[in-house]
Amino acid sequence: MGAINCDGRTIREINSEIKRLVADGEKNIVVKNTAARHNLGVAIVKPVKLRFEGSVGYYCAGMIDGPTVEVTGSAGWGLAESMLNGTVIVRGSAGNAAAATIRGGTVVIHGDAAARLAVALKGGLVLVGGNCGYMAGFMAQKGTLIVCGDVGAAFGDSMYEAVCFVGGKIGELGNDAVIEKPTEQEEAFLRDTLKSHMPKKTVLKFKKVVAGRKLWNFSKQERAVWKEAL
């Protein structure tokens, strides 16, 4: 196991050390005394295990492809932004724009997420154990967003083919977002997902939120819809 102590080191030195260990074939890396510093563990493209003991700042695990990253504390803005593949697990809460524009992989936040969660989602799975703020799933194109608790206003605004599930209350649906009943297969998927990532969590019923497809094609007859959305 490779261990790195952040004390007295610059972010560049810490990230270079992580990359050196990865290049040397180390499969298990523990980073200590993270003290909520920014840009930790970005652009890791090998399937290694990376564990941050403590909280991390902005853009942790951004642009990664393949690793399993665990944060034992909380995370700042832009967690796992633009990741291609891999798993990011945060035991605490996450700041704004967590899992924004991810293309694949899984992001699990055990606490709460703030505003703009999973905006422009392009694939993958985002799972939040607590609540999330407003504008989650804005313009999400593909992938799945699951929030076990309550979600804020403008939820699922202007989405394409992403699918969202909400266990709690919806503050307000965004433009063109509609509630559907989950299929039996989806309910089984939700049960399995919770069981594997948050075994202690039980959510009795999820609401499914998808695009109503009113904004997908422009039609003069639907001017009112567009006026509202824009």
Binding site: R37, G54, Y58, N96, A114, G152
Partner: protein, 302 residues
């Protein structure tokens, strides 16, 4: 950018090490704003006593102006303490009259004199430069009290000097102070409105208007919490700000969540900061951190 931080002791201890905690948090946020640093600290004071921190004026006139200010203050109340450090005169006097009158009388002593803070519990110290320099000059790490807020500034639109630094005291309203990260886009409109009502602005800094707004709302009958809540509608632009007076400590975040602000609350304290690095620098023990949501207002009362 800019960094803001605040700490509120919940145990009822009025000599908590707030100066040291806020200073450590500001040092951690220093990279967000190297232009200036400042703190507003709330401590216990002798009954009926008003403490003023006064910017005495430009170089050369400091000693002369300080003497004249003390002489003027003696006409208004019993001065129990007066001391000059760097650009400041600190005055403590027994005064029960109209705070606006006290301010007007003292500021008319000489050009360049500005009351930086006035209050029964509040004291503001701010200057150009880093938090470390602020402590080296004024020894803020030794100051104690119940709660405090602080600011490190990255200047974007107005000049860099002591007056334009934060926290801002809400002139005319003892003890009310604000630190702000963001940009108030309807500042000029609000400023014109308040100037028509006779309020004086001391800077070109948009953040100055927040304290004035809160003071105005409270003068109209809103309580501290209601004033912060009303600001979500009346202030445009991006803001996360902390506000405090002798009894209250709170924050508000704009409805779009443009600016970061996170907080933690335990049985013993509340701490709020722009970035979690500040909490790690200032606090010990276990605490759970959460980012404030869009349009969230929280207030704690002593």
């Amino acid at each position: 950018m800019c960094g803001i931080a605040g700490y509120f002791d919940k145990t009822g201890n009025d000599s908590a090490a707030i100066g040291a905690v806020v200073l450590k948090m500001l040092e951690a946020l220093g990279a967000r704003g190297p232009d200036s640093a400042g703190v507003a600290l709330y401590g216990g004071r002798a009954k009926g006593e008003m403490v003023l921190r006064i910017k005495v004026g430009e170089n050369g006139s400091v000693a002369k102006n300080a003497t004249r200010l003390v002489a003027e203050a003696r006409k208004l109340g019993k001065v129990s303490k007066s001391a000059t450090t760097a650009e400041y005169l600190r005055l403590a006097l027994k005064y029960q009259g109209d705070p606006k009158e006290l301010e007007r009388r003292l500021e008319s002593v000489a050009a360049g004199v500005e009351i930086v803070s006035m209050g029964r519990r509040l004291e503001i110290v701010k200057q150009v430069g880093s938090p470390q320099n602020l402590d080296a000059t004024y020894g803020i790490a030794k100051l104690t009290g119940t709660h405090g807020i602080g600011h490190t500034r990255l200047c974007t639109e107005s000049k860099v000097d002591l007056s334009h630094s934060q926290p801002f005291w809400a002139h005319g309203c003892p003890d009310l102070a604000v630190v702000h990260n963001g940009h108030i886009t309807n500042y000029h409109k609000l400023r014109r409105l308040y100037e028509q009502r006779g309020h004086k602005f001391y800077t070109e800094n948009d953040s100055e208007v927040i304290g004035m707004y809160l003071a105005d709302q409270m003068a109209r009958g809103l309580n501290f919490r209601q004033a912060l809540e009303a600001s979500l509608k009346d202030l445009d632009g991006s803001f996360s700000y902390l506000a405090a007076d002798g009894e209250h400590f709170g924050f508000a975040k704009d409805v779009f969540a443009f600016k970061p602000l996170l907080f933690t609350e335990t049985d013993k304290f509340v701490a709020v900061a722009t970035e979690e690095v500040a909490l790690h620098a200032g606090l010990t023990g276990d605490y759970h951190v959460r980012e404030a949501q869009a349009g969230e207002v929280r207030v704690w009362e002593r």
